[in-house]
Amino acid sequence: MYETTYHRPSSVDEAAALFAKGKEAKYLAGGHTLLPVMKQRLASPSDVIDLGKIKDLVGIEMSGDALTIKAATTYFDILQSADAKKAIPAIVHLTSVLGDPQVRYRGTIGGSIANNDPAADFPAAVLALGATVKTNKRSIAGDGFFKGLFSTALEDGEIITAISFPIPARAGYSKMRHPASRFALTGVFVVKTKAGDVRVAATGASQNGVMRVPAVEAALKANWSAGALDNVTISTDGLLADIHGSSAYRANLIKVMAQRAVTAAG
């Protein structure tokens, strides 16, 4: 790891001011993506600004129709949350199959979506549930937040403060875990909104990162059941092909994971 200067601000404003002063600053939340990348010398920030100790960035709130998870809340805290279990159990399930116990103690929801790894789990939940990403400057609709591999709508220095998930009528998540890395070989999040709309997002499958799956959405809108997907074919256009699986394999996984997610959603 190259040399860097570590800062531990106690407020969002202080963090943003430190970022503005740094030559090539980076925020640090759980550090379970940034530190491995720094160890590999693929990132060499001049300043590392720790968001993990900012009290305003930690916590889970229920209000009316939404579950709001603040950005620096760890996966472990999400797993412990009675509100999350009650409002959107699919999010708790997603968290339970993310990484391993040590990763879940440190990693945060904000770090996950800011990083937008094409095989990460939370981007699928944000997109399928139509969540709103709140920052220190504005609110960004989930539909417009993810911009392809490892890129998002965030501007330089912008801090995610919270993610607000509308509570759905039903939701489910199913993922085929890569056995070594535990990231998604393909994971699918299915949602039936309270207004009766159906939204489906797949992660780990596309060359462009998380994506909606219109063919599955149309079939489930007509008939919300795993069987409704039996005859759906997913196009292999733009799907990932690597040593772990061909694009045809991933296309089939999208369907199978969607079926399991619908069964889990009930």
Partner: protein
């Protein structure tokens, strides 16, 4: 450089280290606590697991600065003098180790698992919960046996306290 103050195995510690120092390097190189190992570069193997404020974390993926002000427990800090921690004793009695490289991390993770699940542990849960710890020798079977055995012993030890 920064001065990092924290508590390690019950003792207050203050160390002058570069900001890029990882917690594992502070422990091993500055404090000479070499029981905590480094087995990978990718945060995947778990040989470096210690407890920060009671939670099992990979000390190779935490900056020393992030741990400032916290309470860190390493493998050196769990026995009572010559009396092994019940988890250590169970690993010895069940042949839960061969070369021993992964063992400090396995034990620190396993204590955390028993703390979280108490008496409700079964084999499947132990296997799922040990996903963050890799062992190249044992095939895991005796590790799982050790953890289940220790879960029983830790319950007895707690009841006695």
């Amino acid at each position: 450089m920064s001065t990092i103050k924290l508590t390690v195995n019950g003792k207050a510690v203050s160390a002058e280290v570069e900001d890029r120092t990882l917690l594992v390097h502070l422990l091993r190189e500055t404090l000479n606590l070499t029981g905590t190992h480094v087995g990978c570069d990718t945060s995947q193997c778990g040989t470096c697991v210690v407890h920060i404020d009671g939670k099992a974390v990979k000390s190779c993926t935490v900056l020393a600065g992030q741990a400032a002000g916290s309470n860190v427990t390493t493998i050196e800090g769990i026995s009572k003098g010559d009396e092994l921690h019940p988890m250590q004793a169970a690993f010895r009695d069940n042949h839960g180790l061969q070369c021993g490289y992964c063992t400090p991390g396995m034990i620190m993770s396993s204590i955390d698992i028993v703390n979280r699940y108490g008496g409700k542990l079964d084999e499947e849960t132990v296997r799922h919960e040990l996903e963050g710890n890799i062992c190249r020798c044992t095939g895991y079977h005796n590790i799982v046996k050790s953890v289940l055995d220790a879960a029983g012993r830790m319950k007895v030890a707690q009841a006695a306290e």
